[in-house]
Amino acid sequence: MSVNDLFKQELKVINLGLKSFQNDLKSQEVTVVQVNWKPKAGGKKNMLDLLSKLNKVRK
């Protein structure tokens, strides 16, 4: 969907991170889904690097 198509649509947001942003969006009646986010691979840097490499291969 191009940027100009986005401008014509109702905004629907997925929020990863600060919950306050989700609350602000809700207060403006924006449809928003909060992800119960945790760092991937337990947040371990070597595992993250490995995951990122795997992702690049996958793509």
């Binding site: 629907k12 997925i14 306050s20 602000d24 909060q34």
Partner: protein, 521 residues
Amino acid sequence: MTLKTSIKRNAYYDSVTLMLLSRELQKLEGVEDVLVGMGTDLNLSLAKDLGLASSEFDTLTPNDLFIAAKMDESQITMKEIEDAFSDYLNKSSESEGDEEYQPPSLRSAIQALPGANLVLISVPGQYAAVEVEDALDAGLHVMLFSDNVSVEDELRLKQKAVEKGLLMMGPDCGTAIINGKPLCFANAVRRGKIGVVGASGTGTQEVTVQVHKLGEGLSQVIGTGGRDLKEQIGGLMMIQGFESLIADPETELIVLISKPPAPSVAEKIYQIAKTCPKPVVIDFIGGDKAAIEAVGAIPCISLEDAAQKAVRALRGQAYTDFTGFSLPEDEVDRIVENAVGLLKSDQTELRALFTGGTLADEAMKLLGNRHSIYSNIPLTPEMAIENLPDGRGHICLDLGEDQFTRGRPHPMIDPQTRTEFFRSHVDGRTGVILVDVVLGFGSYQDPAGAVAASVREIRQRLSAQGKDVIVIASVCGTDLDSQDLNRSIATLEAENILVMPSNAQAVRLTDRVLQGMKKGA
């Protein structure tokens, strides 16, 4: 005092929630110092610096929550601190209505929200790039609030976004308004015909607020992140945003805001501006006026000037550089004379304490070389705050910079940092205090009240020396913001704070008072 640590494994909470919780737990009787955080390297090093780390820290992962407290066990136990922690969390969850399903990953969220079109990402920077990539691969636009994302990742992700025709606003993008909906730190403004692409967060906020005050509105406000116009990124998102506003039938005039871009990037933007069928107003804060004029665009001398010219050009009215005040000149003269008359001869120094980085930068540029101003974001290296001779001289600080926000929220979210700087940096030699008060989504619920309280405290302290101090403020906000512009102004004026209608005018008044002080000396 005893040092105790409590650990909850695999319990993730966001950093702002935990920083605000640390502040609450700090207030408990018997707690000398406390830090609540996830077991990230940053938090572990902060805990060590604060003397709160224990041997148990060796087992922590970034998915583990810790509470580390120095406490008097005759007054409070770790169990009571843990209970207080849970209470605060539950209270905030109740007030936020947290009963909804929260999918565990971006992929499951995409399934849970059919038709999702934008992903807002504010997870710690080191984990952000992989999430952005997933979002772009799923064909979704991205606003990336997180900082600490590498330039290499930024370039790769923006190239992918451009390839797919998507927005990738950020990293470190604090402000956007898409389809009339403010995202992250943005003000409530009416919709209208002016589109903005901004690489400077509070700069963009100031322009949108001024446009609203002048009776016009915004079609779209696109953020790019502060590095977008550097050589390495090449202005990918500024150009993407600019072109989409050119194609947007709701946008009749376009405003571009950034610190001066790399010359090669500026050139690319000028070439688009040259053939743009819509009027283009460019504020490359302190940028090349002649080059902007040469391509038929409208250059500006301040953020307020950008808004004024945009509104006037939109309405087909003539415009000139706005260098003065909304108030009549004789009234400004009277204010300056009264202000200077209140000061003793040794009160010569400026303390500019900003929460908005672009506003601080604009202040220093407008004050120009008439005053030697030391800063943590200096205009030239020799004016770095470290070079301040004997701690004496004019100071302008961006309190939102990393060095002041380690382990604590940005001062727009939590006024505590500025409150402390009022206490530590204002003394009997201070003549003028200059502040910004930024309202809007994301910002603290009553920033004007926090400034007013600090000013009251400072004046009480100075009155013991038979002194007063001049305080000048501008409020970046609108009547539609939850903190309310007029209420905020009234709160400040009740403390005899001189409130000006824009950052530029607050800076100009500061300049006039400083010059008046020099003459009087």
